[in-house]
Amino acid sequence: MNSNRFLLWWDRVIAMTVKELKQLFRDPVLLAIIVYFFTADVYLAGEGIKLNLHNASVMVIDHDHSAASRELIYRFRPPYFDLKGEISGKKEAENLLNKGKVLAVLDIPEHFQRNLLRGKQVAVQLQVDTSDTVLGTLATSYAAQITADFGQDFAMQELGPVTGQTDNLPVIEDRHRVLYNPNQIDGWFMSISELLTVITILSMLLPAAAAVREKERGTIEQLAVSPLTPLQILLPKVIAMSLVILLGTAVCLFLIIIPAFHLPVKGSIPLFFAVTALYVFATSGIGLFIATASRTLGQVTMLVVLLMMPILLLSGVWTPPEAMPQGLRWAMTFSPLYYLTEMSYAILLKGADMYILKDLLLGLTLLGIAFFSFGVWRFRRQFG
């Protein structure tokens, strides 16, 4: 009898899950959105967004016209900088910067070479447009590095013939080893982070949309008088939508990220999917809460956008936790995306295993249980 009841319980859930899937596959708009998110959107993010400096436009005011100045100018070259040519004076430089035609203007003073050869200190000026902070800061630091390298090389050249032993100079050489993404390909980072964002949006939106649609169309009324419990009404939506999201994630990983960006998966793919499934379940709890707080699909989407912002900002995708003020670092423990981001990069790029991730896994599980119970509790109060 007990096992019969158990089977009946699950048979009802399965029947409802099949219904949810059928409805989803008959909704062309929602389907198109899902397909777009998991393919084109991730591809665009991986291909389009660059975190390194790429072909930043530079112009030069060269007051020296010497071999040394030409040598320095020559070092501002692709892929980081794109030398657009020479201009005559400060006025023109200002004008171009104001109009946003160039990102930076390099100003080389008169007697640049002479002073260098005489062993005097020389300064060059770089005017940088930092209205885009990231780009501006990158340009400044790259330029600083180029100038420093040039200065060092020039000094060596001049000193070398004199002393004959450049190797003994007290110079620190920075030999960094880039781990996990040796070529620093932005596409790896960007496409994965976009995929995680997409998973987050959809795992809130899809169950919430499915639940609020029952309200909008009045079908909830018939379910409320049936022997289904609130959990049996909600669980199928979460199961169905999780299946769809996991399928989308697989498509995205195997058909977009790996082929397009040549991501070498270091860790266990099943572990990645298991973590993702856990995450979708956790986040769908927020979706269910959204469904109880809204009456229409429009309200659902607004709330998803609203909640997406803090989840994303507190996830550590854009700012690492260490860079956050203490209060926000604490708040990050409530952003489910924080756990997923940490774990996904760890699994896919670093090859981390379950043991390494145990704390994060535990955190996400607890958060998931809390969110999901809250969502079901709200729903039960509304319709129970």
Partner: protein, 653 residues
Amino acid sequence: MGETALVKEPVIKIQGFCKSYKKQPAVKGIDLSVERGEIYGLIGPDGSGKSSLMKAIAGVLSFEQGELEVFGIKVDSESAAELIKARLGFMPQGLGLNLYADLSVEENIDFFAQLRQVTPAQLDQRKRKLLGITRLDKFRDRPMKNLSGGMKQKLGLVCTLIHEPELIILDEPTTGVDPVSRGDFWAILAELLREQGVTALVATAYMDEAARFHRLSLMYDGHILAAGEPEFICRQAQGSLVELSAEPQIQALDQLKNHYSQVEAIGSRLRVFIDNQSSDQAAKTVSNLLVGVDIKAIHASQPELEDAFIALLRRQRLSEQKTNSHTVPRFDKPLLENQGIAIAARQLTRDFGRFRAVDQIDFTVRQGEIFGLLGANGAGKTTAIKMLTGILPPTGGEGQVAGADMRYAGQTIKERIGYMSQAFSLYLDLTVIENIRLYARIYGVNRDIIKQRIAWVIDIAGLTDVTGQMTAGLPMGIRQRLALGCALVHQPGVLFLDEPTSGVDPVGRRRFWDILVHLARVEQVAILVTTHYMSEAEHCDHLALMYAGRVISDESPTNMIQSLQQEAGQLLEITTDRPLETLALLKQAGFNGAALFGKHIHLLALDIAAAEKQIRALLDRQAIRLIDSTIHAPTLEDVFVYRVLALENKERL
């Protein structure tokens, strides 16, 4: 057609009107003309083309074919439409849909006045008058969303009338409104007609409102079946209606169905339409036909509009005629559980905060009984049903449903009952069979028999031809049967129906009630129906009338009518040559219940003879000619209005 001989320019003139939506024709060639100062009705079920026609007349919908003239202006362009729009008022379908929920009554009116460029002085005067007639003046500051359904419709009417249009177009103004508010609504319309001589074009899905119109068009599937005065249309059906009560009823019903295609059972009565026979002939034919049945009473008369509608449809072969060849399949096994009482409510009470929605109600429903719960919007019907179906725990009192205690066994109750909600609440993006299968699994129908059970549902609900179709594409009547089928999928002993047939055409409604009558009489299913439509109430064996959370009357329909007759008397129908003046006169003379029904006036009077004498004298003095006066038995609608108004008046004192 008995119209006054005065040659009048029609306000609306339509010829060969056609309208399609994406190649799907909605109106298929209609001719119509509406005279100045009349209330013209468009009656037809959902999807018959009423709304499309009305929108085109209001100048807000373009059309492909035909000619449309309003106020003598040909509506064939945007600019022509603008010309007529200023002179008419249009109230679209839906309770308060054209109003702003968060604005107060007065703000809504002011907004529409500004939109129509009514001067402040005019606005002030009209507002005072209209709010007075509609009795909304006490609620000036109340936000529209907090008004009852009937009040919303009255406010909608005020907003439509604020610029004093010559023509008002009202699309289903009485749908979803309780009988008392409906009565109010018609009275206001009559008064405006008298005072301002407006012309009104009104659509309704309810045949029983036909008597309210001077003339009307019966619409079905984009065509006009018949047009003219209500009596004229009834005569066009050419036949008689025989009403009888017989024992055993189900046997008599079967015998009649074998011979006639227009037969229905309403409560304990059977109604048969006999083609091409006079009343006397028809009664004889029917009594000769029935064998082995004890006829208790038989009576033949002219058909009512609904009978005429079905007869006309049948002649024009516009509707499928499968109703009678259809034998309803039986339950797998007879209902055993608790043969006596199916639903028992004792002192059932529910509070929401300090508001008492249901106040100590008592009633019982036996197996095999069709029980009606009547009441206006907000009377507590829905709350009562929610408690009985196990969704809402009661605050006090107790109840048994299908042998389970509703205080503790909500889940058990849910497994034993079937429920069909007012709004269609199945999945439109699933096919018919997918919906049935889903509910079969939700109700835990055994895997071994699920296939047979689905076939049984399809059979009992008559869905054989549409099993694979997407539910979204089905007409209302079939959707309702699908909803009933899904509610029956576990063959429950108790069935709850919340306003099951609103918006369904009469043919569909008959077929629907056929199934219900079978379920009650043959399978002994207990059926509880909530409604404020008297056409549904008439089907019930027993009625409970609710008002302000209480049951104020609990009787069989016949007894309800009889006790009203004892208290308030018979219904007197008066026809004069100047009905509007007559109405005003009668109201002055103290006949407060007098109401206008098209060209006739209805009033209740205990001493008919004395009343008639008094009225004759009154009319003589004003030189109004009394054309006819007849006595009718009051209807259930009269019972409802009388009882509720009596209580309202008592509370006011």
